[in-house]
């Protein structure tokens, strides 16, 4: 546990298991196999205790989105070795933003936009009208909801297709520019 390589690997595993929800990183036993398999003196109990201690700190820091200086103070008070302190600080510096984004994404209870595709067609003729020459954009939005059981993806509900003529596109673009104006004031 004193070697930066192993301790950093433990932290990396923690990130994958607790935040990225990587299915390959499912338990402390897996951690032991992946990282500490050659270290006979490092028992499962030691790994688990260290892991939980680190997770406790990281959870606290993530909860209040701690600045690096507050994090460093928290770690100092928690009885880690010098090398472990350095690894933890580096971990937080590198991953703080990523963890914060993950915590936000968990609370995205609404649908999110998975994919947006579009094409522009030029209507030339129809049965009623001999010459149209009207450009129209066709948009397809694929929505996804992470919080519903999406094994039986009800694709009908989640794919929206519609067309917009030039004027509608202009109006929508105006709304979008409006949003961007508001964004700049935040």
């Amino acid at each position: 546990m004193e070697q930066p390589k192993y301790f950093s690997s433990l932290l990396g595993f923690l990130l994958k298991k607790e935040y990225e929800k990587d299915p390959a990183c499912d338990s402390i036993e897996t951690l032991k196999e992946l990282v500490f398999s050659e270290q006979e003196d490092v028992t499962l109990e030691i790994i688990e205790a260290t892991y939980n201690k680190c997770f406790d700190i990281i959870q606290k820091a993530a909860y209040s989105d701690m600045q690096l200086s507050s994090f460093e103070n928290l770690v100092k008070e928690s009885n880690f070795s010098e090398i472990q302190i350095e690894c933890l600080n580096k971990f937080w510096k590198v991953n703080k933003k990523k963890i914060h984004e993950i915590l936000y994404k968990i609370t995205k209870f609404n649908n999110s936009l998975q994919k947006m595709s579009w094409r522009i067609d030029l209507k030339t003729k129809s049965k009623e009208i001999k010459e149209i020459n009207e450009p129209v954009s066709i948009i397809e939005l694929k929505l996804k909801n992470n919080n519903t059981n999406s094994n039986t993806t009800n694709d009908e509900n989640n794919i929206i297709r519609f067309e917009m003529d030039k004027n509608q596109l202009e109006e929508t673009l105006q709304q979008i520019n409006n949003i961007q104006k508001h964004l700049q004031t935040i």
Binding site: S64, H100, W118, S137, I160, R161, H182
Partner: protein, 73 residues
């Protein structure tokens, strides 16, 4: 024309996620978009979705690209 709906309403809201049970300091702005589509059977369906700021920037850019292309036709 056949099977492609028509956009009849586009509404939006800009919000800031302040806190959640996972974090007391979310401080993350987000945009909720609400659209209504009229399909060829005269049925109106409503949909809403949430975008992060970077997702919204991409969304906005797509519309700008479409608009530029359609202008040039």
């Amino acid at each position: 024309v056949f099977n492609i709906g028509k956009l009849v309403d586009f509404q939006w809201k800009l919000g800031v996620a302040s806190a959640s049970n996972h974090s007391s300091q979310l401080n993350t702005p987000f945009i909720t978009v609400f659209i209504k589509v009229l399909d060829s059977n005269s049925k109106v369906t409503a949909h809403s979705f949430e975008l992060t700021i970077s997702e919204f920037k991409n969304f906005a850019q797509q519309f700008k690209d479409m608009s530029q292309l359609i202008e040039s036709l």
